[in-house]
Amino acid sequence: MRARHRGPFEEAPETRLSRLLPAIAIMLGSCVTIWPTIAEFPFLPPVGLLMLLAWRLIRADALPIWAPLALGLFDDLVSGQPLGLGIATWTMCFFMIDMIDERLMFRDFWQNWLIAAGGTAFYLVVGRLTAVRFGAPVDTVLLLQVLASIMLFPVISLLCAWLDRDYEPA
């Protein structure tokens, strides 16, 4: 059957895939940790969180406000971080971005990057404080991991924008 012709101002029909695409992408990002390698120090950025922040910053209506609860729980279960870290900090990141959106009239990519850098650093630092005793000499590698995560955000952001290319705002 031929698809009905769509008028120029009509919304793109929403499919189930397009609704679930952000969540699937974020969960796949969390699953990067199952790559078969034995890490000697934390070298991998939290790809799930970077995905989450990128989706939220590119398209505010991609995820409901409670989405980070479920996605954070999933990330905690595969990442080896203490359980509850993702649930709490990812939701806090969402609230923080909501508050920033209230105050800022416009955001461009540089602001997005700054917000994502803050969110990722917050997540990693809280993770370090809750996972490992205070005196452990992990702060240098943590700093390197934070820097690597911040550097990775533009790539993740591009990837999310590419995945979202078929979306047409109403």
């Binding site: 199952i34 609230f95 005793r133």
Partner: protein, 295 residues
């Protein structure tokens, strides 16, 4: 980009209440998350069942990816060894001849050792192997150093068992699921292993640092000094790790607390051997039913 103000969905009361309740739900969930985080801060082993349940699903995927990687990685190695085989053969023959005298001496010492032990009436415990399996993945985003082992309680793996590699100690099982187990690596900041120096038996603790290295801390009263390339092996104290497994090699000169690197670098290519705990904790006394006499 202008923020799309999706917190005011329009004049519909129903839509407004929907947004309101979703925020209430999110805040409540966040508080639950904070409570869960506090629980796992005070007792990291809580929720181990949930984590191993997810690992049951992810471990086969990691294992499959790893075997693909091994197959692809073996191709250049195979081609290289085909061309090198002649030279290698000559070198190996020479090495066998060189090592012959050492082997004979070691055999004689081994025999004498057994005879002396028999004379003394020493009863020796040996590490009982449980299963050998591969480590399939780890926790590369976390500051903790865990690895997932591709065998679990159905294969006899239990919490507290030591995990050995071909070169030395890898760590200890901390959570065991049906088919997967979580291994605490030596380099984890919470890991600490009683060790002794091979040269003179100086007792020390090998404590993980979390950045890939290990701290060797002297536990004797006298100020101990360490030199590079000194090797530490497990002492068997504490009853978890069997004695004489290589653990760490000192990196630089120092006193009391020095940097060391692990002898065994765990990877997904080698097999890891899980052993029974060296001296398992004695079984709990069975509560005897107390006869209650009515007055």
């Amino acid at each position: 980009m202008a923020p799309s103000n999706n917190r005011r969905p329009g004049f519909s009361r129903r839509a407004q209440y929907g947004v309101f309740w979703s925020y209430v739900f999110a805040v409540a969930g966040m508080l639950v998350g904070v409570i869960l985080l506090a629980l796992s801060y005070f007792d990291p082993s809580t929720f181990g069942a949930a984590r191993t349940a997810v690992a049951e699903v992810t471990a086969p995927v990691s294992s499959g990816l790893s075997s693909v990687g091994r197959t692809v990685g073996a191709v250049p190695n195979g081609i290289g060894s085909y061309f090198m085989i002649h030279d290698q053969n000559i070198a190996l023959r020479k090495q066998i001849a060189d090592d012959h005298a050492v082997t004979m001496r070691a055999r004689a010492i081994n025999y004498e050792n057994r005879r002396l032990k028999a004379l003394l009436g020493l009863r020796e415990r040996i590490g009982v192997p449980v299963v050998s399996a591969r480590l399939v993945s780890s926790s590369p985003t976390s500051t903790r150093r865990f690895a997932i082992l591709n065998a679990g309680s159905w294969q006899g793996v239990e919490r507290g068992q030591p995990v050995l590699g071909p070169d030395g100690l890898i760590g200890q099982v901390v959570e065991a699921g049906p088919n997967t187990a979580r291994v605490l690596l030596l380099t984890d900041p919470e890991s600490s292993v009683p060790v002794r120096r091979t040269r003179d038996g100086l007792p020390a603790l090998a404590v993980g640092r979390g950045d890939g290295l290990i701290d060797i801390r002297s536990v004797s009263n006298a100020a101990a000094s360490f030199a590079p390339a000194e090797v530490f092996v497990t002492s068997g104290a504490g009853g978890v790790y069997p004695p004489n497994i290589p653990v760490a090699k000192i990196l630089r000169h120092g006193r009391d607390i020095v940097l060391a690197e692990a002898v065994m670098r765990p990877n997904t290519l080698d097999f890891a051997l899980v052993q029974r705990a060296f001296l398992p904790a004695p079984p709990r006394p069975v509560a005897t039913p107390v006869a209650v006499t009515k007055p």
